[in-house]
Subunit: 298 residues, 2 copies
Amino acid sequence: METQLLSTFVAVARRASFSAAAAELGYTQAAISQQIAALESDLEVQLLTRRPVAPTEAGARLLEHAESLLLRLEAARADVARVTRAPAAALAVGATPLAAVTSGLGFALARLRRERPRLKVTVRCADSRATVTAVARGDLDLGLVDGLTAPGDSLAPLAPLTALGVAETAIAAILPAGHPLAGRPGVSLASLADARWIDAPGVAAPLADVRRVAGVEGFRPAIRYDGTDAAALAALAAAGHGLTLLPLAAMPAAVAAAGLAVSSVPVTQPPVVHRVEVVGAAARPGSPAAELIRLLTG
Amino acid sequence: METQLLSTFVAVARRASFSAAAAELGYTQAAISQQIAALESDLEVQLLTRRPVAPTEAGARLLEHAESLLLRLEAARADVARVTRAPAAALAVGATPLAAVTSGLGFALARLRRERPRLKVTVRCADSRATVTAVARGDLDLGLVDGLTAPGDSLAPLAPLTALGVAETAIAAILPAGHPLAGRPGVSLASLADARWIDAPGVAAPLADVRRVAGVEGFRPAIRYDGTDAAALAALAAAGHGLTLLPLAAMPAAVAAAGLAVSSVPVTQPPVVHRVEVVGAAARPGSPAAELIRLLTG
DNA sequence: CCAAGTTACGAGTCACGTAAGGATT
DNA sequence: AATCCTTACGTGACTCGTAACTTGG
């Protein structure tokens, strides 16, 4: 099981296509086909169905491991590289859009720059996967990622990286102002399973995650929003294109931008929160990264 | 960075020899040399010093990642294999010698067999590394491993496997009956750094671990004991060959077997305990493995 | 001077690309 | 018919083993 094969397996599974993966990785389709065949013959199981291309039961198991394995491989390379490279007097932070808002990153960075005026700080906004990958590669010193969990539960643990909880806030369903549910004190997630939903993986939690925490099927996307802007998402919800979930802490800004035509109803069942975690490689005490972690969590 | 290369790197680092690793892996020395050279040129760092063969700073970093990476690779293979293979109505448990004694494994297994008389149980005794590897490979359903930590701390976390604390007991230094320290109510670990020690990696904690928890150098081996029997180790200590550390819970049996010619003094500084953890892949609720975990921890 | 790792070189294998073949929509 | 994956086959690169070379204790 060479890492090369695992890497193309992940690419194929993610794109659900041999040819798309080939284009992505710079191989021909035939090469991809051969690599998957080699992997399947090594493990003596079919890993992917063809037409449509989707992981089998065994493939799903492997995929879980492979993603974390490849992440750790990146981390190993970065860790080794850190030995030779001198520690830069700069701090690179990544964050998902909602994590940046609800973690108080802005305030923490302001205080950090007051304490260390000469420190160069760069912030990069991206989705959770890209942020974690960048941290693992060493491109970022720290990343703030978010997701939906039960209160107190951590997000899916990330093998080589340390993760610390930064904030947990209640979530709310965003509705048009005239919606029947508007004004209710709370709502159960399961009761919204059959509503029309906005699929907004760049901002809100992926609908698959919503299904997982709700424990029921449903939450079918009626429309997809590919941006990273919570206000734009709220505007779509206000216009009645579908529902979405946002942390209450992110609401004021989004509501204001949408012209107050929306209403938010806290989700009360099951107990679910929007959680933000800071992930990073082991940071030396006193380093800018360690300092920022202290400011974020303390 | 292919897994093949990482695997030979780990073998070379562990044996501290290219030729020994070659013999172990069934290659020629030249091939090993080429593989290490390829890895070093890929990462653009020297990973090993030659004569003597030892990890450099960068190599040590890579080694940490590589061992856990290869373990996880085994786990991935086992996980995929589990999908096809029908779940066996048997339970395979591994344990280190001291873990088996101090965890109450015998009692837990007795109760389990009373609850499920038809269940086939096999127990395998080996060192921590072998036990963890076997669990990762799926050869064992559960493993009991032990080590020295601060109270409440877990042992070094193992990426893909879940670990749960089972028992923590105080440790004691084992001395000949007439030793000046015999009869003292307690002793600090650091004060024993310059004594003669028995290196017994098959039973007691490796001396490197003792150094780590004591926080000082020393603890040089005067004699090596390669067996896995605590009583034999206690007998060596009684005969004055050197000191060793054993959990207090394992003492009665060992002392009785050695004919009472030994004395044990609890280690009081720093706060250190002998901790036993049960490790396993995710077990379905109601499975024999889950049941045994409940009996061990509950 | 011997043990142990490196380098050179030839041979076999392996993985890729091209191209043709089949299956599914 | 078009798309997409698979199979066949030739070529090039890679990796291994043999053997000569080098270096350090």
